[in-house]
C-alpha cells in the first residue's frame, strides 16, 4: 500500500452502493464508461461522476487507448475488493463457529475429545 493511499477518502468512496457495484464490475476486468453505465440504467455523466470519486480515492485508474478511456482497479481498489471478500468470509465463518456450538449440544452421545 502506498503512503499516499487515503483511507478516509477510500471509505467515503465505498459508502455508495453504485460505486461498490462499479468496483465489483471492474474486478472482472477493465471497462469503459459506456460499458459501466449499461447495467446501472444511469446516464454517462452520472457514472463519470462516480468514476471521478473512485479515481480521486485512488481505487481505480484509467488508461488511454485511442479514443477509449478504459478504467481498471488500482492496487487500492484490489485491496478493497479483497477486504470485502474477507468480510463475507468473516460473516460465514462466524455463522459456522456458532453452528459448531449448536452441533455440540445436538449430539450429547457423540465422542467427546479429551481436553
Amino acid at each position: 500500500m502506498t503512503s499516499s493511499f487515503d483511507l478516509n477518502a477510500s471509505f467515503a468512496a465505498l459508502a455508495d452502493p453504485t460505486r461498490r457495484a462499479i468496483l465489483a464490475r471492474l474486478a472482472l476486468g477493465e471497462a469503459t464508461v459506456n460499458e459501466l453505465a449499461q447495467p446501472f440504467e444511469m446516464t454517462q455523466p452520472a457514472i463519470s461522476q462516480h468514476l471521478k470519486v473512485l479515481e480521486e480515492a485512488g481505487l481505480i485508474v484509467q488508461r488511454v487507448d485511442g479514443t477509449r478511456r478504459p478504467r481498471r482497479l488500482a492496487k487500492a481498489g484490489i485491496d478493497a475488493m479483497d477486504q470485502w471478500l474477507a468480510m463475507l468470509r468473516k460473516a460465514l465463518e462466524k455463522n459456522y463457529d456458532r453452528l459448531d456450538a449448536v452441533l455440540a449440544t445436538m449430539e450429547p452421545n457423540s465422542k467427546r475429545k479429551r481436553q
Partner: protein
C-alpha cells in the same frame, strides 16, 4: 496484525459464476443436515455479523417447499431472503434457490449444499451458481455491506 485465521473454512470463486464454500464440522452429516433444515436450529446460527437476529424463520424443507428468513439489528435495520427447495436428500444434499430482498430482489442464487462423512465428522461443500459474472461480483459486494459498518467503527477508532 491479524492474519488469516480462517483455516477451517474455504471460500473461493470458480469459473465466472460460482462461489464454493467448504467447512468441516465435528458432527455427523445427519446433525449438520438437520441444522440446515430445522428452523429452530437455523435461528441459532445463521445470523451473520455480531448484533443481528433472525426473528422470522420459515422453512418448509421439502421439494417445492418455500423458506423465508428475516434479519434485524438493534438499530431497526433489516432485510430478508426468500427461496424454494428444489431437492432434498437426507442427510447428504440440499438444493435450493434463494434471493435477497434489499428490498428489491437480487437475481436468483442457485445453491447446492452437500454433506459428506469426513473422518468422524462432516465435510460441507456449498456451491452457489449465479446467473452471470456481473451478478456474482455484485453479490460479493452486497454481502460485504454489513461488514462496511464494522469497518467504519474500526476506522473511527483509528482516527
Amino acid at each position: 496484525m491479524n492474519t488469516m485465521t480462517t483455516t477451517k473454512m474455504t471460500l473461493k470463486t470458480e469459473g465466472d459464476t460460482h462461489i464454493v464454500v467448504t467447512r468441516h464440522f465435528a458432527a455427523s452429516p445427519e446433525a449438520v443436515y438437520r441444522a440446515h433444515t430445522d428452523p429452530k436450529i437455523i435461528q441459532k446460527w445463521l445470523l451473520g455479523p455480531e448484533g443481528w437476529t433472525m426473528p422470522v424463520c420459515i422453512n418448509e424443507a421439502r421439494p417445492g417447499g418455500k423458506f423465508r428468513y428475516e434479519w434485524t439489528n438493534k438499530k431497526g435495520q433489516g432485510f430478508f431472503v426468500t427461496g424454494e427447495f428444489v431437492e432434498l436428500q437426507p442427510y447428504s444434499k440440499i438444493v435450493h434457490i434463494e434471493r435477497m430482498h434489499l428490498p428489491d430482489p437480487t437475481p436468483d442464487n442457485h445453491v447446492e449444499t452437500r454433506f459428506e462423512p469426513d473422518g468422524s465428522g462432516t465435510l460441507m461443500t456449498m456451491r452457489m451458481t449465479l446467473p452471470d459474472a456481473q451478478t456474482r461480483a455484485a453479490m460479493l459486494a452486497t454481502g460485504m455491506e454489513h461488514g462496511m459498518e464494522a469497518s467504519y467503527v474500526r476506522l473511527e477508532s483509528m482516527i
